[in-house]
Symmetry: C2
Subunit: 157 residues, 2 copies
């Protein structure tokens, strides 16, 4: 079995174990660097009361904590399902190198998860979304970016 | 000043303070329930080495921890900037009621943040993204959803 398949099989095991233990949804993920597993994660939303604790986010946070870095530029992600928009965003912010996924967003939707719905919502303008988005005080808030730009010792990310 | 403006002014203060303290990017957020602040957050990406620690995610996680719930259905979010795709996903998973934002994603891009780029990437098919996405072992991974569907005492989210 090719190495990629070994990692994905491990992610699937994590997902199955997670369902068995009742810790959260049927999702598992691994972060791999130089052919070695750096961190793993399973969906812990309901057990941790954390809606952001998807397998990919859990694995990314664990890998960053392990490396004491906020980017994972030379790392790959293995996940049992195509990432939802939240996780896709996290993958880009972490600047992962490559993503391997097994099930699709459509499979997740068929199993009752909101991934596809959220993808549809993201594509809309703020005013057309199911959750109302209203803008206020933009002029005042631009001071935050001005302060950031003026800060000489800022840490960009 | 209307109450919404009071909350947004507080979020702006959090963002400015965050830049001053050097804890992360120029972003602040509040979760409000029944007209009271339930939790707050600032961007802690670089100080926590956590690429998911955007102000909105930090505030959502704090509010959920406070309520011991994984959804915030009767809560509103105030954020100094239009949420990035990761945070937008988190907002939908948390099922927030209303979002108020100040600066736009374009303002964030002008200040050097990747929000708009990630929105563009999300709209693409997996094969067309800057980070390569490859599918493997879908058939094997469908067992995760089958196990989930067969679990009688599962906690849906």
């Amino acid at each position: 079995m090719a190495k990629a398949s070994v990692f994905m099989a491990k992610a699937i095991d994590l997902a199955l174990e997670n369902v068995e233990l009742g810790k959260g949804g049927p999702f598992g993920a691994l972060i791999v660097q130089n052919g070695e597993i750096l961190a793993s994660g399973a969906n812990l939303v309901t057990s941790l009361n954390d809606p952001t604790a998807h397998a990919e986010v859990v694995a990314i946070r664990a890998a960053c904590a392990f490396k004491s870095e906020f980017q994972l530029t030379d790392c790959d992600l293995y996940t049992t399902c195509e990432p939802c928009p939240m996780c896709l965003g996290a993958i880009y912010w972490a600047r992962l190198r490559h993503v391997y996924f097994a099930c699709t967003a459509a499979d997740a939707a068929d199993a009752g998860f909101d991934d596809r719905y959220i993808y549809e919502q993201i594509a809309r303008a703020p005013a057309d979304r199911a959750i109302p988005f209203d803008s206020l005080m933009r002029d005042e808030a631009l001071a935050c970016f001005a302060a950031w730009s003026a800060k000489t010792n800022r840490v960009n990310y």
